[in-house]
């Protein structure tokens, strides 16, 4: 039985002090995305890459949920599955109260304006043969019946919003720097006034000096339009900066979910602890003092995850039970949940 991530209990929700939190915008329940592996003489399906294996969480309107984890743990897959860019294997996804988990692609089209995506690689996510205005205008072409002039005006407006010079409208992506390209991508995502944007590592490909520009822009836009973000990143420090709540993923599962303060100050799951301790500190004095938890080995393959707890192969605090039983999810503090056997003694299993 996969751990079903509990829905935050009402009182827990009330405890979240963020005034923005009012309504659940995105509700993900037991989401699974398995990619089949075919092999053998007849190309029979012999197994699957369990890229995402039973994930549940909520995103409140106006907040930013950070999603962190190592490469290949399934972060992008979650983001894409929520937007139904994949046909999901199991589970439900509700956006703005509408179930889209299994809606056919053709009907999804009408939903597209509410949910948008910003991609990791600003170079790769822009068609090199389309001009900036065409790229930003594409969603408008698809979903609105604006006249040419209206569209032009809207595109200009969007370019202003993301801080792109209007004069660049007729240029092509390769004529821009990385940060500018990412702005184009953001402008495209904003074109239809979405409520919810999945940012899939929007800054990973950018230079340090540019990253901050883009993050600030995202924050400004959120403040201005009341946007909701799912901010996927492996950069824990940037997530700490931008996210309100943070989910930590390991091999297709969420191992810990908590508010930013809780997570960074008192990480509970051994993986989260290791992950945080591994982040180097740009300060030689602190660096010297950090007690690092060095994990051994690598992330196992999602096609063949270990039995029991996914993390048991690398966990410094591994117990016998971890190798046999999957840990359920425990709410160890209001709004702070983790899936680890360490907490089974002290905490009651949360409702599932």
């Amino acid at each position: 039985m996969p751990p079903v991530f509990m829905i935050l209990m009402p009182e827990a929700r009330a405890m979240l002090d963020d005034p923005k939190v009012s309504k659940i915008l995105v509700e993900v329940r037991d989401l699974k995305m398995h990619f089949p592996i075919h092999a053998g003489v007849l190309k029979k399906r012999v197994g699957e890459v369990k890229a995402v294996d039973g994930i549940s969480f909520d995103i409140y309107e106006g907040e930013t949920l950070g999603l962190v984890g190592e490469s290949g743990c399934g972060k992008s897959t979650v983001g894409r599955a929520i937007l139904r860019l994949y046909d999901i294997t199991e589970g439900s996804v509700k956006i703005d109260g509408i179930e889209i988990g299994h809606t056919p692609q053709s009907e999804l089209r009408t939903m597209r304006p509410t949910m948008q995506m910003v991609f990791q690689d600003p170079q790769a996510s822009l068609n090199p043969r389309m001009s900036v205005s065409a790229i930003i205008g594409e969603p408008l072409d698809e979903h609105t019946k604006m006249s040419k002039i209206e569209k032009r005006a809207k595109v200009m407006d969007l370019m202003d919003q993301v801080g792109l010079n209007r004069d660049f409208a007729n240029r092509y992506p390769h004529e821009f720097s990385g940060g500018q390209r990412q702005r184009i991508g953001i402008a495209r995502a904003l074109a239809l006034n979405p409520k919810f944007i999945v940012c899939d590592e929007p800054i990973a490909a950018l230079d340090v000096s540019i990253q901050a520009q883009v993050v600030n822009l995202l924050e400004d836009l959120q403040a201005e339009h009341g946007l909701t973000y799912l901010f996927i990143s492996h950069d824990l420090s940037m997530v700490r900066h931008i996210a309100d709540r943070v989910a930590v993923m390991y091999l297709g599962r969420v191992v810990e979910l908590a508010s930013r303060e809780q997570l960074y100050e008192a990480p509970k799951h051994p993986y989260t602890q290791a992950l945080l301790s591994a982040v180097p500190e740009p300060d030689p004095w602190i660096e010297d003092k950090i007690e690092r938890v060095i994990l051994q080995g690598d992330v196992p393959s999602p096609a063949n995850p270990p039995k029991g707890c996914n993390f048991c192969t690398r966990c410094p605090q591994v117990m016998e039970i971890c190798k046999t039983d999957e840990p359920p999810t425990f709410e160890i503090a209001p709004g702070h949940v983790t899936a680890c056997h360490l907490y089974s003694a002290t905490n009651t299993e949360s409702a599932s």
Binding site: M117, L126, N165, F168, H174, S177
Partner: protein, 304 residues
């Protein structure tokens, strides 16, 4: 915010990316020479007949087997037909065959390649289909198609057009597979590109994704296939002539002229040299153009 790079770019006039391609292309000497020659050949065979007004089928018995002279700069053939006029007319056919057959094979190859690459469900089927064509021995196939359809087409389009359509069809239909494979491979890769994903996240329907995002970005392999395709078609046409399967003997094409003259290589070497040169140089030119295009369309190289 100020953008240093952006400002320097603002100084440059806005330009279509084809200009970059052209700039890069210009630096390839072979390609430029090829292009100039190819344009020259095209102009010669299509405009030439307006200047050189001798009818290529007119028989001037007194001029039989005459060497080059003022009246017949390239000489006259065994019936006294003007070889220059026949070269021009033959070039028209050969080049038209090259261009249209290439076009056909390109359209087919791209179509199949895109379908197979983009729609996973069609992939297996279409690729088997492509393999099938690859495994079909071309020569008998060519032969049978020519025999089967020569006359219905002739009836439909008239003598010359009929056989032209047929040859073009035959060459096109037997040479699209490489293009299809390359295109499919590229589409498979492009499909995973984030901008395609981005388009899908916007809700762009597949058809438009293909037209707007996929097709323009596989231009480079397509263009290269195109140039190779022209060369290939011109050569195939001449080989067909050699095997007696191409255009009828009284219908000049470069391949046919070369074939007819090859027995007289000792008596009238110039009759072999002209069409031989024309074919080789055209193919060479087109190949160089292809090489240049490949470089020019490759952003990795163009960026350098």
């Amino acid at each position: 915010m100020t953008d240093a790079t952006a400002q320097t770019q603002a100084a440059r006039p806005p330009r279509n990316q084809w200009w970059d391609v052209w700039d890069q292309f210009k630096t390839h000497k072979g390609a430029m020479a090829g292009l100039i020659f190819f344009i020259f050949i095209i102009a010669a065979v299509y405009l030439g007949p307006y200047l050189w007004k001798i009818d290529p089928t007119y028989i001037d018995i007194r001029a039989r087997n005459k060497g080059p002279s003022l009246a017949h700069p390239f000489g006259a053939d065994q019936l006294g037909r003007d070889i220059l006029a026949r070269m021009l007319k033959g070039g028209q056919t050969s080049i038209s065959v090259g261009l249209t057959a290439m076009g056909l094979s390109l359209v087919l190859g791209t179509f199949v390649g895109v379908l197979a690459g983009y729609w996973k469900r069609l992939d297996g089927l279409l690729m088997r289909f492509t393999d099938l064509f690859l495994a079909l021995p071309l020569l008998p196939l060519l032969l049978v198609i020519i025999m089967l359809f020569r006359d219905p087409l002739r009836a439909m389009f008239g003598l010359e057009t009929g056989i032209f359509v047929l040859i073009v069809f035959v060459i096109g239909i037997t040479s699209w597979m490489q293009t299809a494979r390359i295109v499919r491979g590229d589409v498979l890769a492009l499909k995973e590109r984030e901008y395609v994903l981005a388009a899908r996240s916007i809700g762009t329907p597949s058809r438009r994704v293909v037209l707007r995002h996929i097709l323009p970005n596989i231009m480079s392999p397509i263009m290269v296939s195109a140039t190779l395709g022209i060369a290939n078609a011109i050569i195939t046409e001449s080989a067909l002539s050699f095997l007696g399967l191409g255009f009828p003997p009284d219908f000049p094409t470069w391949g046919r002229l070369l074939f007819d003259a090859k027995d007289m290589i000792q008596q009238y070497p110039e009759r072999v040299i002209w069409p031989g040169l024309a074919i080789s140089l055209t193919v060479l030119a087109v190949n160089y153009i292809g090489d240049g295009l490949r470089d020019a369309l490759d952003p990795r190289i163009r960026g350098r």
